[in-house]
Symmetry: C2
Subunit: 278 residues, 2 copies
Amino acid sequence: MKMKQLLLVKLIFCFALSFGGLGLVQASDLLPSWNEGKARQSIIDFVAKVTREDSPDFVPPAERIATFDNDGTLWSEQPMYFQLMFAIDRVKALAPLHPEWKDKEPFASLLKGDVNTALAGGEHAMLEIVMATHAGNTTEEFETIVKDWLATARHPTTKRPYTEMVYQPMLELLAYLRANGFKTFIGGGIEFMRPWSEKIYGIPPEQVIGSSIKVKFEMRDNKPVLIRLPELDFFDDKEGKPVAIHQQIGRRPADAAMDHGWAGSAICALCPPHRCRA
Amino acid sequence: MKMKQLLLVKLIFCFALSFGGLGLVQASDLLPSWNEGKARQSIIDFVAKVTREDSPDFVPPAERIATFDNDGTLWSEQPMYFQLMFAIDRVKALAPLHPEWKDKEPFASLLKGDVNTALAGGEHAMLEIVMATHAGNTTEEFETIVKDWLATARHPTTKRPYTEMVYQPMLELLAYLRANGFKTFIGGGIEFMRPWSEKIYGIPPEQVIGSSIKVKFEMRDNKPVLIRLPELDFFDDKEGKPVAIHQQIGRRPADAAMDHGWAGSAICALCPPHRCRA
């Protein structure tokens, strides 16, 4: 990952309330794969500024919230969103149960291996694929399906598991921020990320926010379950990002910390460099 | 608060993933207002069982999630939900801007001080009151309104601020659980609780889950804001509770820990006593 790209990663820092104090952890130990340079230095300066108690920009630990996008930031999104790769594999796996898909777009094209034609239908086509592959099971069943897929699926180019297609510098950045009292959150497809976010990123399920579909409580064979419904609950994109941060974290960037407020927290490119860009 | 009531509080423990180890903190220091008795002992036994590394019921710290209802559990809900008290006061404050309310239920009755008639319209009436009083402003404005109200409003019987109408034994229980490695969450009206949950309960905004209304990102006077819309986003009641725990925490009770699974985590009365009741 190039430094220039890192300047543009959708790394978000938001701040708000209060607590104790932690010493600054030396970056040299925790950012070994970062080149000496402007990007690395701006991270170190940022962390120093907000963690030194005598700094005018000091942020108490309880307010040190760092949120990261997953796709394209923590792991690759090439040649396409990995969650879409998952959905395509699910379409293939479920095809025998859906003979009608052979003549119905976007499924017909997907089953022929023609992803471009399948996705030509835009957001509507994408939603149809997601709903057909992400709903209809219990939350436990879906978790198992995701785990099984990640254990066996391989990236088309590198042939490595998708969970190895993560950016090493970003793993180091996550650890560096946590060592300096930050609570790290990731945004993306919630139920697709929760089964592995703790193991791969050290981010527990309750700090995974973003897109989800609706679920419904039900008793099945005398056991209570949550059924995943083919209905979007929340779509975490563009203006959805600050909404997700508000709904699921509830801390707003302090004015002083981020002039662009919610927009700044949503899209890092809008933020003043001294607080937001890494 | 009587011990018998405490046996029935909607105190929920859910468990799932993994981490290090913390010693058991002595209850005698942290539960001073609890009578020696069965309820107190069952809490101490429960915590001992899940925190001792050699225990078959050991739960790693990262999985120690305790969720509490707010209304009727952490603070009083008599003579009616405090959030409804807030809404009624808001109807009165907003009445000059809504001359039509004088002839329109449920507002007309509320303005005459007749809450019972106003609420005779059931859930629909309640929703109308909530939407008229909780929407139409930015998230920052709403937070200020809640804070101002809490600073000035007084409980009708005790004449004390509502934030003093909390149960001392429950504050101690929250602290006791946290001292033993639990992460504490509360459920209720999210935006109504977040402005004060950290100060009163030690629960940060990101651990407040439950009911909310939709918000919309907007630019106002060149500043990005989130506008509160008169539309329910999520209603955290009955079957909504396990859904909220799933969506917003994402940790499921382990089978061994809670036979009734999600229902158990939603309604404590359904849980096996060895894991759920305090």
